[in-house]
Symmetry: C2
Subunit: 414 residues, 2 copies
């Protein structure tokens, strides 16, 4: 069975399945960000209940705390955080470029100081890949240079050339070491097995049987800044290297939304139709629908979780700031059209009180609602592709378009 299967199409959009080492993941998929092996504030069973099939963790953050070797010794990331569904780790490249001080880049790799304690670290394509093998996520990413924005053609070309050389080094290192992922030597976590598994939990991973991938999948990353021709060239040459999936990186870094879309539209035709396409760090509820319609299969963004912690909530009637005084006497649920457990139980007045009083329950409840909103959107999207009526769905969503929030960012700060 191939790593990725496409089961339906509607326009350019694809309904597919990622057969990861742990579970099957339906695409198009939105991956919540669980920076430090936790989606901030939300226990794993609630993520399961929300229908999260894959989440993203950040290698950079885990490298600093608790350390990728420590996670390996504890059986890998799945066992460490008691999560039996799929995980994707980024390579650390983006955070090295956005969070750390005193960054020195050379052909070999990047020297940087930890944003936590100033300690000196050095990451290379090989060590970033080794760190991700230690973590043992189902999908791991090549170590790239995230080209700064703005960057001129020359600078962008030099950067994408180095990213290509690094991609080859990542691929070569991975091919030599892919048998070393911790899930090859561990059974499903005993702790997790102690609890009654939720009815909808996927069957446990068994490395000795079945049709799942027996290894991690390493994805290549397309760079090329805001230059469409360089984007196309980066895509073509990354594809030549050969990966089971391709990401579009270096976007959502402060450029106008129209330019982001232009770059995505330049890259997608260059990517093989039978491989998953992952647009990194995107986006708003409207954007994830639009990009899926263009043929993107995977996305991630801190927006739903980070906005929730700032009291910004996505609803079927638009984005609201729960701290607004008009909610102080509002007994209605956050979103009358939402079936999540927060909307089923609590009033806007109570959620406003929790947020205004700086109560930590606000973070949990707001995050559960926003993730529910995103995951519902993806479910509706997949359903529309299956029914072949995606165009109608996209039009409907466009007509209720919210103001574009100025919040879309990648890489949760620690």
């Amino acid at each position: 069975m191939p790593f990725f299967e496409i089961t339906a199409r509607s326009g350019d959009a694809r309904l597919g399945t990622l057969h990861t080492a742990h579970v099957d993941v339906e695409t198009p998929v939105f991956m919540p960000v669980g920076t430090l092996a936790t989606v901030k504030g939300v226990p794993q069973d609630l993520l399961e209940e929300l229908g999260v099939e894959i989440l993203l963790s950040n290698t950079y953050h885990l490298l600093l705390r608790p350390g990728t070797k420590a996670v390996r010794e504890l059986g890998g990331l799945h066992r460490f955080m008691s999560w039996e569904r799929a995980i994707l780790t980024d390579s650390g490249g983006y955070q090295v470029f956005s969070l750390s001080d005193l960054r020195k880049v050379n052909e070999d790799g990047v020297e940087f100081r930890s944003h936590l304690d100033g300690a000196l670290h050095f990451l290379t394509p090989e060590s970033a890949t080794a760190a991700q093998i230690d973590l043992g996520a189902d999908i791991i990413m090549a170590f790239d240079e995230c080209t700064e924005h703005p960057a001129n053609r020359d600078r962008t070309r030099r950067s994408l050339e180095m990213t290509l050389r690094w991609a080859k080094r990542c691929r070569d290192y991975f091919e030599d070491h892919k048998a070393e992922a911790p899930f090859h030597s561990t059974l499903p976590a005993e702790n997790a097995a102690k609890g009654a598994p939720p009815a909808d939990r996927n069957p446990s991973y068994n490395p000795n049987e079945g049709s799942r991938s027996l290894s991690q999948a390493l994805f290549g990353i397309v760079q090329g800044g805001m230059h469409a021709d360089l984007r196309r060239e980066s895509a073509q040459r990354t594809v030549e290297l050969g990966f089971p999936g391709y990401a579009i990186g270096g976007l959502s870094v402060g450029e106008p939304r129209a330019l982001t879309r232009e770059m995505v539209e330049a890259v997608l035709p260059e990517l093989p139709a039978d491989r998953p396409r992952y647009l990194m760090g995107v986006g708003t509820p409207e954007e994830i629908v639009e990009y899926a319609a263009l043929g993107v299969d995977m996305m991630d963004c801190v927006l739903p979780t980070r906005a929730a912690r700032h009291g910004l909530l996505f609803t079927s009637e638009g984005k609201i700031s729960i701290k607004n005084a008009r909610f102080a006497r509002d007994e209605s649920p956050l979103d009358a059209h939402c079936a999540c457990r927060v909307c089923a139980r609590y009033s806007r007045a109570y959620l406003r009180h929790l947020y205004s009083s700086n109560e930590s329950l606000a973070g949990l409840l707001n995050t559960v609602h926003n993730l529910s909103y995103y995951l519902d959107t993806m479910r509706q999207l997949r359903h529309s592709i299956k029914l072949g009526c995606l165009e109608a769905f996209v039009s409907e969503r466009r007509s209720q378009r919210l103001n574009s929030p100025a919040l879309s960012e990648r890489g949760d700060p620690a």
Copy 2:
């Protein structure tokens, strides 16, 4: 049916049932503290799952945020926080004396400044009772002066005399206004009704039928500082005023544990055997067992919840600080003898990582475990009373006595 029924005894301990306006509560009971209409970090469905039948909220804090009138307009505390089980509110007396600045006490009441914004407030026995009627908790408390420690006999006597005069004013105000509690005019919260009720949820309150109390229950509070004879006198004269239950206040304010116990032992024989006895602000897991054995029926303390937020966890093998480096590679559950969902799923290594990384999930998971430990202790205690073997249970717990933590305090800071 009386408000309180005793169904079994073992030594001086009593197994009983409080027939509150919302649900029946089995005693001896430990009440988790939900200062601002939330047990910090824990969603209400998890409290239900843990078996919490009654929780405590602080009138002082709710008076400042969101305001007791606001809560009344939103249908009362039960509806506001979507909690259909029982609630007890304190009178605000303790927080006025421990948290606020510029306190001026006279016969009429207490003028104080909010610890949040310095705004001037005035609480009297009447207004504190009115605030608690607005909140609509099942059990409310008389407004007392919490005598400071240490206090000499003269000062203590003057203070307890005023508390007695205030208790009468509270009782008189309550008798005139008890029909005004918000649950007399509201049906169960629509929001809560939307969600599928947990299988073990108690039947909804219906003010028009059944055997429950149709009103709140106002408890009197015994003061008397650290003087056993004054404690006895305060108890006798509070009982003469006549309340459906009696609290022992003004303890756990910094005095040695032996002195606390001496005061409790002085008071208990003076309280009527057929009324519930509530020891305020107590205690450690060992103390709650010891006091229940003496005949105390109700206790509350911030210890399990506050300690959890500081990474201090109660286990069957003693108290541990989860931040300790020795847990960094520890794959075992927090407490192998605990059936809570945290121990069923997560390792000590993961919990340590969350706490060390300042992740908000640490607060939720630690609190759920500590509350589970306390509520399990109370369940075992009640079971031992029912079986008539409480003495053996108390001996067993004494033999595993932990070091007495220096954490027992009342009244969560906001």
